[in-house]
């Protein structure tokens, strides 16, 4: 077991501030166990960056169930209600037209529209809700300051711990990460505001 290689010098570069600690791993297993260690140590603002999904990573990070489902459900329900109200108003009240001898407020003819609007608004809620929950769009992320980080889409597995994490203390976090067999641990800086 070789000691990890530290990529950053101790004094922060001028005009920059520490954004996160980035640990690099050679295997998905090490990455998963590192996440479990961080979770067990009480960290909450950390993430994994891997070339492919790793089974069990959600639990290892301690992620709660996504709230997206509720957003989609609300979007769908809005679509159903909106379509029903719209058709009821247009065909039933505002400008009633008898078509095919059916009553103006026939529900069966509204169902395809209710279905379509349900699907449409569900899909909108899913896409834009996902953007919102992922805090997108954003122009840049401090992770891209690290030259090493590009390997996350090739053959390396990363864990990043944000400084905003209440448990974050540079020395102790670094020490904790170094116990998880990383290939390297890097301090990543961003422009100070």
């Amino acid at each position: 077991m070789s000691s990890p290689e530290y990529r950053s010098a101790a004094p922060p570069p001028a005009g920059k501030r520490l954004a996160l600690l980035l640990a690099e791993y050679a295997t998905p297993g090490e990455c998963l166990h590192a996440a479990e260690k961080l979770r067990d140590a009480g960290y909450s603002k950390f993430d994994s960056h891997t070339p492919f999904p790793i089974h069990g990573m959600d639990k290892a990070i301690g992620l709660p169930d996504s709230k997206l489902g509720f957003l989609v459900f609300a979007g769908g329900l809005t679509g159903t209600t909106l379509a029903f109200t719209m058709m009821m108003w247009m065909n039933g009240v505002d400008y009633p037209l008898i078509i095919g001898g059916k009553p103006a407020t026939s529900i069966p003819s509204m169902i395809p529209i209710m279905f379509e609007l349900t699907v449409l608004l569900s899909a909108f809620a899913a896409v834009f809700g996902m953007f919102h929950l992922n805090r997108l769009p954003r122009h840049n992320h401090p992770l891209f300051e690290s030259e090493n980080f590009g390997k996350f889409s090739d053959d390396r597995f990363f864990i990043s711990v944000e400084v905003e994490d209440p448990k974050f203390k540079l020395d102790r976090t670094k020490e904790l990460l170094s116990k998880t067999h990383p290939a390297s641990v890097e301090e990543v800086y961003e422009e100070a505001q």
């Binding site: 999904p53 089974h55 069990g56 290892a60 459900f73 095919g100 001898g101 059916k102 069966p108 169902i111």
Partner: protein, 495 residues
């Protein structure tokens, strides 16, 4: 599921056989087939006895015919839905479902007994299908008209037969009596006269229906009907038994050849499955009301069957789990996926059901609407509520809406008891669905009714089928221990 757990499971794919995948010792499932056999013989015996007790044209006999057809169709739909489950797993080379597939294979193997269980339906064909007796047996025509009762559609149909077979239809004694059923029009011999009123369109409508039935004679005739029934059962026994037998043989052989064979077999199998299920539905359910047709009917039956089969697979595997087997082989991950499939195809069922209903409602064609007419509106003849509207609404609320809201949550699908509740609800409503398809065609009683005979027949037929299925279970491993993809199923997780 953590890595540690999957890691401890993974090697066991090599020696998966063991007490956790076999029914042995004091497992209550070992003797279940004997109980099922006893209950089945009792149930079928009682209902056949009741059917035989009344004369050939008695109300009891007719009721038995419909009860038995209902029981048979419920059972058949579960077996056929299971076949489809296996077929798509092979076609998609699914890894996750390998451990669940064996339960479906047991259910599919039961198709070989369905031919025997069909015999009472075949014997009652004259009572069930209004087009049957009208054709070749003029002597029975009178009697069949007596049974043919309240719906205007069947009356058209009988007239139609007359025109096809006997141009001098006006002289039939049966028709006078027939029209009498419909109200005050004693002049049954005048064929335009019936209870729907004095609409001048009736004449045109009736001519159209005569024409339609004459056109359907090439399909709805004795020899072709019998021949098709033989063909369906040959195809189903072939499908069900091949899928089951080749898979259990693989338990010992542990070869890749079987897996490749079954994948190729499933391509042809899926086509055979789709055609046989559709046409059997046309023959045995749609032709209860021979004037009516719907091109999506086969898909409707298929959707219901697959949902019912998934619900049955969930309930059977949960039952096995309760007895202490398949604890690590079929995990919450598998149940979650089965739940997702069941949820999705239940929505598909509703989608097809609505599509069929909306097109017929929108077009309002007189030869199509009676299907919904007798399932929605009040009885025209007796001017009282038939109750079928309530059943139709129950299908909407409890087959679609309630399971939709209940099972949409991931957490509920992953809680096995709640998933079991959802599966039980869907299976129950599937039985109601088949009931709703068959019983409104009962000519003696137009209203909704549930007789002890219906329940006895259902329990009887289903038990005989399950006796066979449960017996297969005692003889084989409960998961395909020789399947090369077994390891993938044992370590499966939803991402």
């Amino acid at each position: 599921m953590t890595e540690a757990k999957t890691a401890s499971l993974a090697p066991s794919a090599k020696n998966a056989d063991g007490p956790s995948v076999r029914l042995q010792g004091k497992n209550p499932w070992l003797n279940a087939w004997k109980i099922a056999l006893g209950v089945g013989i009792l149930g079928v015996g009682i209902s056949i006895g009741a059917g035989a007790m009344g004369g050939e044209h008695s109300a009891l006999h007719e009721r038995f015919a419909f009860s038995y057809l209902f029981a048979f169709q419920v059972t058949l739909s579960i077996a056929l839905g299971s076949v489809f489950f296996i077929l798509i797993q092979h076609l998609s080379s699914a890894g996750w479902s390998v451990t669940v597939r064996r339960t479906a294979e047991f259910l599919a193997s039961g198709l070989v007994v369905m031919a025997v269980l069909f015999i009472p339906v075949w014997l009652c064909k004259g009572t069930l299908y209004p087009w049957w007796n009208a054709e070749n047996a003029p002597a029975e025509h009178h009697a069949s008209n007596e049974v043919v009762g309240t719906t205007t559609l069947t009356s058209h149909q009988t007239h139609g037969d007359d025109q096809v077979k006997e141009p001098e239809h006006g002289e039939h004694a049966g028709q006078g009596e027939h029209a009498g059923h419909h109200g005050d029009h004693a002049e049954g011999a005048v064929k335009h006269d019936h209870a729907t009123g004095h609409d001048p369109n009736d004449e045109a409508l009736e001519a159209e229906e005569h024409h339609l039935l004459a056109k359907k004679r090439w399909w709805l005739n004795h020899d072709f009907f019998n021949g098709r029934a033989v063909l369906y059962f040959l195809v189903w026994a072939f499908l069900g038994w091949t899928l089951y037998k080749r898979s259990v043989d693989q338990d010992k052989a542990k070869d890749f050849k079987t897996t490749n064979f079954l994948k190729a077999f499933s391509t042809i199998g899926t086509i055979l499955f789709a055609l046989s299920l559709t046409f059997a539905g046309v023959d045995w359910i749609m032709s209860l009301q021979p004037m009516w047709f719907s091109t999506i009917f086969g898909v409707y039956l298929f959707a219901g069957s697959f949902v019912a089969a998934l619900a049955t697979i969930i309930l059977v595997t949960l039952g096995l789990r309760k007895s202490g087997v398949l604890l690590k082989e079929i995990t919450v991950e598998h149940y979650h996926d089965l739940g997702k499939l069941m949820f999705g195809f239940n929505v598909f069922w509703a989608y097809i059901a609505f599509s069929q209903m909306m097109l017929i409602w929108y077009a309002g064609l007189p030869e199509e609407t009676p299907f919904y007419h007798i399932r929605w509106f009040t009885d025209e003849v007796h001017h009282k509520a038939s109750g079928w509207q309530t059943v139709s609404l129950a299908l909407l609320g409890l087959h679609f809406a309630a399971p939709f809201v209940f099972l949409i949550s991931r957490n509920i699908k992953r809680r096995l008891q709640l998933l079991g509740v959802g599966a039980a609800l869907i299976l129950t409503m599937h039985i109601v669905d088949i009931y709703w398809l068959i019983f409104p065609n009962l000519r003696e009683r137009f209203e909704v009714s549930l007789l002890w005979l219906d329940i006895a027949a259902l329990i009887g037929v289903a038990s005989l089928y399950f006796a066979f299925v449960l017996h297969r279970m005692t003889k084989n491993a409960l998961i395909p221990i020789g399947d090369p993809r077994l390891a993938r199923a044992l370590t499966f997780e939803n991402a």
